[in-house]
């Protein structure tokens, strides 16, 4: 069954949407959308470094994404204006990554695969990385769930309950870097934060609790991945962007349904 490239692609898409569901909810609740962008764009720099030092791509992207996220986190704690800072970091990382890749010898590299994903070329090994990473993200967030939620509602309430919200932030950062490494093969560096944010935003109008929002997000994410793949097959369009389009359509539908139903 795994011999079929479409089956592998579907499994890759499902793995990503499961990991992206709890993480995407936190990105929405904590207004970290731009933070996710900066982390994901840094992955291109990670691709360049991986190729230069002959390391596995997923390892390189994860390390660089993690460094980026930690740097941004540390700078923001010093009170620099977050919005501007993230914009600077996100685009600089992307530009440096694109430039760095051209210095790597001997590879005529098609960057499109890393910018927009190449889900139809997912191998069995890629699948192992994707599902392993997804399991790690889910385990991490499930373990810290209550503490993460408390710090999201109010860092001060977390402090008073003996929770260090900065530690929870770092755990989220680690999960985000893992997810970027998982997602780069599926949707590419440019659309990672779209797959985090859009299904969560689409789930919000019908969610009554944080937990149901995560489940709905996972459902919408999975349907977007499968629907996008199907659309890509049908219309011969790029698979990664098609998945994001499907998620965006879900968002438009739930947002207007909510409005109609009041």
């Amino acid at each position: 069954m795994l011999d079929d490239f479409l089956v592998r692609a579907a499994l890759a898409g499902l793995g990503l949407s499961l990991a992206a569901a709890p993480l995407g909810c936190f990105v929405a609740w904590r207004r970290m959308a731009y933070f996710g962008d900066a982390t994901a764009h840094a992955a291109i720099l990670g691709v360049a470094l991986s190729l230069a030092f002959a390391l596995p791509i997923s390892l390189g992207t994860m390390v660089v994404a993690l460094l980026m996220a930690l740097t941004v986190g540390a700078l923001s704690e010093r009170g620099l204006a977050m919005d501007t800072l993230l914009g600077v970091m996100a685009h600089s990382a992307l530009a440096f990554g694109l430039v760095a890749v051209t210095f790597v010898d001997g590879v005529r590299l098609d960057l499109t695969a890393y910018l927009f994903g190449d889900i139809l070329a997912v191998t069995r090994d890629d699948l192992a990385v994707i599902w392993g990473g997804a399991a790690a993200v889910i385990a991490l967030l499930a373990w810290r769930w209550q503490a993460l939620l408390t710090s999201t509602v109010s860092p001060d309430l977390a402090w008073a309950s003996g929770i260090d919200p900065r530690r929870e932030q770092r755990i989220l950062t680690l999960a985000l870097a893992l997810a970027v490494a998982v997602a780069i093969k599926v949707v590419g560096a440019l659309l990672v934060s779209a797959m985090l944010l859009i299904p969560a935003a689409a789930a919000r109008p019908f969610a009554r609790s944080p937990e149901t929002m995560v489940l709905l997000t996972a459902l919408i994410g999975a349907l977007s991945a499968l629907g996008g793949l199907w659309g890509a097959y049908l219309f011969d369009t790029p698979a990664g962007p098609s998945m994001v389009c499907a998620a965006a359509i879900f968002f438009a539908v739930t947002a207007s349904l909510r409005r109609v139903m009041g």
């Binding site: 408390t150 509602v153 919000r204």
Partner: protein, 264 residues
């Protein structure tokens, strides 16, 4: 307050926020079952002192010592809730410790928010939210309850009732209470100790002593002894629910004509 019995003890605190010095050389402590009220003008560092005691703000100098394993209940002035987070009152009460539904409902009743259980947190009024946050703080079985401007959204009779409720909670849970307030007269009647703060501790002590202190008068008083008169009067009537005071002339019908020194 002897050092040994203090639940929280801060000494020599210096705190700056965004480069601006907020607290300087502040010593503060709270002992078991004590009600301490921190009063001070806007920007005097009252909230910052509270946040330093829960560990949310790191002092540049000095230190905060909390008794090992001390349970805190904290009610901030406001919560900045993001509407993308779907969270109702009952779920909120189970953070971070999961608590049985029956226990949560009881805590809501105790905090006077019994009918709010299924409402989304983001849709509550300021006063309702504060009661819900108080209910959550009570579920932590606190040894110290820290309240930041807890009567902000309440009218004067409402605040008076709230302070009676705090005294009741104190005697039932046996917890200490640290309150920040600007409602000087009402709050003082319910306090064991008042700390007058303005970047540093101006004066502290029993309410009647503080009300007479020159430093306190310089900050709040207008030179009359109106605040003190009102305070004395309230103290003798503190358990009379019908006796609520505010600074509007018409509500002084049942009191002697005291000119309240509302010098803020």
């Amino acid at each position: 307050m002897s050092t040994r019995s203090a639940l929280i003890e801060a000494s020599g605190l210096r705190v700056s926020l965004g480069g601006r010095p907020v607290l300087q050389g502040v010593d503060f402590s709270v002992g078991p079952e004590e009600i301490v009220t921190i009063v001070g003008p806007n920007g005097s560092g009252k909230s910052t002192l509270l946040r330093t005691m829960i560990g949310a703000v790191r002092p540049e100098a000095g230190h905060v010592r909390r008794q090992a394993g001390l349970r805190l209940g904290y009610v901030p002035q406001k919560l900045a809730l993001d509407p993308t987070l779907p969270l109702d009152v009952m779920r909120f009460l189970s953070l971070p410790r999961r608590i049985s539904a029956a226990e949560r409902r009881r805590a809501l009743e105790d905090a006077g928010a019994g009918q709010l259980g299924d409402r989304p947190l983001a849709g509550l009024s300021g006063g309702q939210l504060q009661r819900v946050v108080l209910a959550r703080a009570l579920l932590e079985r606190p040894q110290v309850l820290l309240l930041d401007e807890p009567t902000q959204g309440l009218d004067q009779p409402g605040s008076a009732a709230f302070y009676r409720q705090i005294e009741h909670i104190r005697s039932r849970l046996g917890c200490a209470v640290v309150m920040v307030s600007h409602e000087l007269h009402v709050v003082m009647s319910a306090s064991d100790r008042v700390v007058c703060l303005n970047g540093h501790v101006c004066c502290e002590g029993r309410p009647e002593a503080v009300a007479q202190a020159a430093e306190y008068r310089a900050l709040f008083g207008t030179g009359t002894n109106g605040a003190l008169a009102l305070y004395r009067h309230e103290h003798s009537h503190v358990h009379d629910p019908g006796c609520s005071h505010d600074h509007h002339p018409h509500s002084h019908a049942r009191t002697e004509p005291a000119t309240a020194a509302e010098g803020r």
